[in-house]
Amino acid sequence: MFEAVLSKTFSPVASRCYSHGKVETDEEFDARWVTYFSKPDIDGWELRKGMNTLIGYDLVPEPKVLDSALRACRRLNDLASAIRILEAVKDKAGPHKDIYPYLIQELQPTLAELGISTPEELGIDKL
């Protein structure tokens, strides 16, 4: 996946784009976001804030991060947001048309378990 070097939200070492600074690895980034969405009592605001921030980054989130986010939607009884998240990551992939099918393939067990339909199944990906 395409991931840029990002600074952490707060850390004692400022990890900006200095060559000598501490750089967060992809795994740390993913783990941080999985943890964020895995909070058992996550509220709607945190879900929206997290998702909007994640979409703001120059990357398509990993399936495990999305899985965590979709489960957060389930805890919040928010099917609409779950479908919206899928639409958003498809839009985020931009011209790279092979990313979204890969994500759906990886998320298929979760989608089946939670009963989330993809935008394509519901027909809202067309006008």
Partner: protein, 245 residues
Amino acid sequence: MQEPHDVFEKYSPELRLLLALEPEPECRGTEADSPRTGPAHCLSSCPWFFLPPATHSRRSWDISQRVGAFYNTLGLMLATRAFSLIGKRAISTSVCVRGGHGVAKVEDYTLPAYFDRRETPLPDIAYVQTLTPEQKALKEKEKGSWAALSNAEKVALYHLSFKQSFAEMNQGTGEWKSVVGGIMFFVGLTGLVVLWQRKYVYGPVPHTLDPEYKQQELQRMLDMRMNPVEGFSAKWDYENKQWKK
């Protein structure tokens, strides 16, 4: 929430707010607040033109926001201590901590608004705020297993929360055709104006543009051997008094 390597964990919530480490939780509103209004003091401290339509950013180091957050935190600490007896609900309806004169009128534009944006997939509020009984029943059904919902119900739930799907919001408008058409129209109109001007406005051109005069100019240029190496006179055949083939 779990933040690895967070040395500020041990700081009190107020101090964290003070240092602008977190967005102010009060700004999200309490259980008692309706979805569209937050605590009045919070909204009045965050002028709408400082905020992007999305919710607060953790990393807004903008000076004015920090100052605003600082004063807001001070006010909040005073408010929470003073009104803890009245209860959380009262904070939004009781005396505004700033002026102390009464509740400031909450302007509509200061409240969270709905936007369909690619970069903000989950807007601050749901699209449909007031639900009919059928819609409420559907929302209740949403609390159960989603596999039990039909496709139509899922689409209905989607449209309760969102106005346009991504496909709809991303579609082009065809406005460019109007723009190009307008450009061509006005260029054409300008052309007509220019032609009319040439005929009716401008006087005759100078005599130096008469064909006879131009011929004399040309002869003079050749006689002077202007640009004889590669340019003008180089192309004239002086022997045969004609242009070189």
